[in-house]
Amino acid sequence: MISVILTLILVLAVFTLMSKDLLHGVIAMSAVSLMCSLLFVILQAPDVAITEAAVGAGVSTVIFVWALRHTKRRDDDNT
């Protein structure tokens, strides 16, 4: 179970790095935080899980989405 979640975190993190659309990257990063908090629950650290879910999946996603609304969402297509 732990290795499955770790693999999922790895895949989502690589997708966050690779995605051209920044909004998809932000959503994938919030999913990484969600998977991390699930992992913390399995490893019996509920305090850290609450922090990770509230900060990683909640507040930082809000801040990133608001920052994206004021900047450009996509990369320039000249690569």
């Binding site: 732990i2 770790l6 790895l10 305090d47 609450i50 909640g58 507040v59 690569t79």
Partner: protein
């Protein structure tokens, strides 16, 4: 000419990162399983932690009892991050005010935000958002206060409850039909609560002096209720974290200053 080179650099960096991530993910669990975990600190905490601090939740006994210094540093880091955010926002505002003279910016708000009726948050304010966030906000606030005040018994604590408080404040700020109609999403009140909470935190840290326990010492250590110190610190840290993160988000949404 330059684009293939940057792409190649990016690709090299990416493959390096991917290799490090994969090796870490594969090897680290095996490496960690090969060695037995150290048990000295765990046994000491299981034996002494509850009687020393009075907290059932030993995590709060650690970060508010044995390692208060780390918590103090963390609150200072949060204070500095709020200061940095406000510094950047007000600098953008002064640049906008100096360089352009159009009517899109009004003087008292930050450069990110437009004037009242052209603000993007108003186009976001649908009836669905108002109904949902306005109703769920007080419940989230209540849950945040629970997590904050019962941190010594159940999982949670000052920082966790404070972040939940901050999401409740953001919900209420998004859900209000008129800006500033609710005092809890008023940035000036939030800033005052934050600074007063930080002052009280430092004063509480000094209070160990008068009982002969030194800085960071628990003044209630010899009494029947040593857990009161942890409850007090949890409440103050929760208020400080919640108001500062909520204030940062409201300021970034253009709600004040």
């Amino acid at each position: 000419m330059t684009t293939p080179k940057t792409f190649k650099q990016f690709w090299g960096l990416f493959t390096t990162l991917l290799a490090i991530f994969s090796i870490g993910a594969v090897l680290l669990p095996i490496f960690l399983n090969a060695h037995p975990w150290p048990t000295a600190a765990r046994d000491y905490l299981a034996m002494r932690g509850n009687t020393d601090s009075g907290a059932t939740n030993l995590v709060s006994a650690i970060y508010l009892g044995y390692r208060v210094f780390d918590t103090f540093g963390e609150t200072i880091v949060l204070l500095v991050s709020v200061l940095g955010t406000m510094g950047i926002l007000t600098r953008v505002e002064s640049l906008v005010d100096a360089s352009s003279d159009d009517e899109h910016t009004i003087g008292t708000v930050s450069g990110f935000s437009l004037s009242q009726e052209k603000r993007r948050s108003h186009t976001l304010r649908t009836h669905l958002l108002e109904v949902v966030t306005g109703k769920i906000g007080p419940i989230v606030l209540l849950f945040g206060f629970y997590v904050m005040l019962y941190g010594h018994v159940s999982p949670g604590g000052g920082f966790q409850g404070g972040v939940i408080l901050a999401s409740g404040i953001i919900f209420l700020a998004l859900g209000n039909p008129q800006e500033g109609s609710s005092g809890i999403s008023n940035p000036e009140i939030l800033v005052r609560i934050e600074t007063v909470a930080f002052l009280i935190l430092v004063l509480v840290f000094f209070s160990g002096f008068f009982m002969g326990n030194g800085f960071f010492g628990n003044p209630l250590e010899s009494t029947q209720v040593p857990v009161g110190y942890i409850v007090l610190l949890n409440a103050i840290i929760g208020l400080k974290v919640g108001t500062s993160i909520g204030f940062m988000c409201i300021a970034m949404m253009g709600g004040g200053y």
